[in-house]
């Protein structure tokens, strides 16, 4: 059976539809209104994924820049928020791909306990390091599903993939994390 990604088409209100129509007709004032209405939501979504305030600000601006650039193609009857979130998610994943972990995993990390005297801090660091080694797409779904506890439906809409694909990515991300943590002597 082929799972099909579903997108909730939240109909904008009449006022918002008018605003969106003005925006698609190249009205800078309408764009400013939309920007001010949605910047916090877009930033909030991005920072959950990238966990870096500077990068999140830059990616928020890039998201709105892309929205502005293709404004003529936007259907004013569709949800602006869902559209912005989809673009923001793709940009955040691209960012995660570019920002690779600073160091590769040494084989004897588990024995480097003199560096991390506090065991809990040691485990926390190892987990973060292993997590940053995951492919960007897995990092995104794992953060949203496991840390931020977003619904699979919401994640599937943001990523533009099916709910089944989200579940599969979460499963694979957890499996990879478990394997790597075991390798480093952290027993999950």
């Amino acid at each position: 059976m082929i799972a099909v990604a579903t997108e909730t088409r939240t109909q904008p209100s009449t006022g918002e539809s008018e605003l969106l129509r003005q925006f698609t007709a190249d009205d800078l004032g309408a764009f400013e209104t939309l920007f001010r209405q949605h910047q916090a939501q877009v930033y909030g979504w991005i920072i959950r994924l990238v966990r870096d305030a500077d990068a999140a600000e830059d990616l928020t601006l890039e998201t709105f820049w892309r929205i502005y650039r293709v404004r003529e193609r936007f259907d004013a009857e569709r949800s602006f928020e869902a559209w912005a979130r989809r673009i923001a998610t793709n940009l955040a994943i691209d960012h995660l791909k570019r920002v690779r972990p600073m160091e590769s995993l040494p084989a004897d990390c588990a024995r480097a306990e003199e560096v991390d005297r506090d065991m809990q801090e040691h485990v926390r660091r190892q987990t973060e390091r292993v997590f940053r080694q995951l492919p960007a797409g897995y990092q995104a779904v794992a953060t949203l599903a496991l840390v931020e506890e977003q619904s699979y439906e919401e994640i599937s809409q943001a990523l533009g993939i099916s709910v089944g694909a989200v579940k599969s990515r979460v499963f694979r991300a957890v499996r990879l994390l478990r394997k790597q943590l075991k390798r480093l002597g952290v027993e999950p």
């Binding site: 920072i47 600000e57 926390r124 660091r125 953060t143 840390v147 999950p188």
Partner: protein, 74 residues
């Protein structure tokens, strides 16, 4: 057993990833305006106009006699 392990992975991740402050530190609109100014296209000529111009230039270079035909239609 597996569920317990999955829950532990989730707990480890929640500890490892610092909580994210969901609010931007400043209003980003002034920066957005700057970006719009910087990235405004130098000319509003659509790409297909450039493509057409390139095609005409190639035709003229490949078949110089076509210049007269072109001038006739202009």
């Amino acid at each position: 057993m597996k569920e317990a392990s999955d829950a532990r992975i989730k707990e480890l991740l929640q500890q490892a990833l610092p909580p994210a402050n969901a609010q931007p530190r400043r209003d980003l609109w002034p920066e957005m305006l700057r970006r719009l100014d910087q990235r405004a296209p130098a000319s509003a000529v659509p790409w297909f106009d450039w493509a057409l111009l390139a095609l005409v230039a190639i035709c003229v270079l490949a078949f110089p006699h076509s210049i007269t035909v072109l001038l006739y239609y202009l």
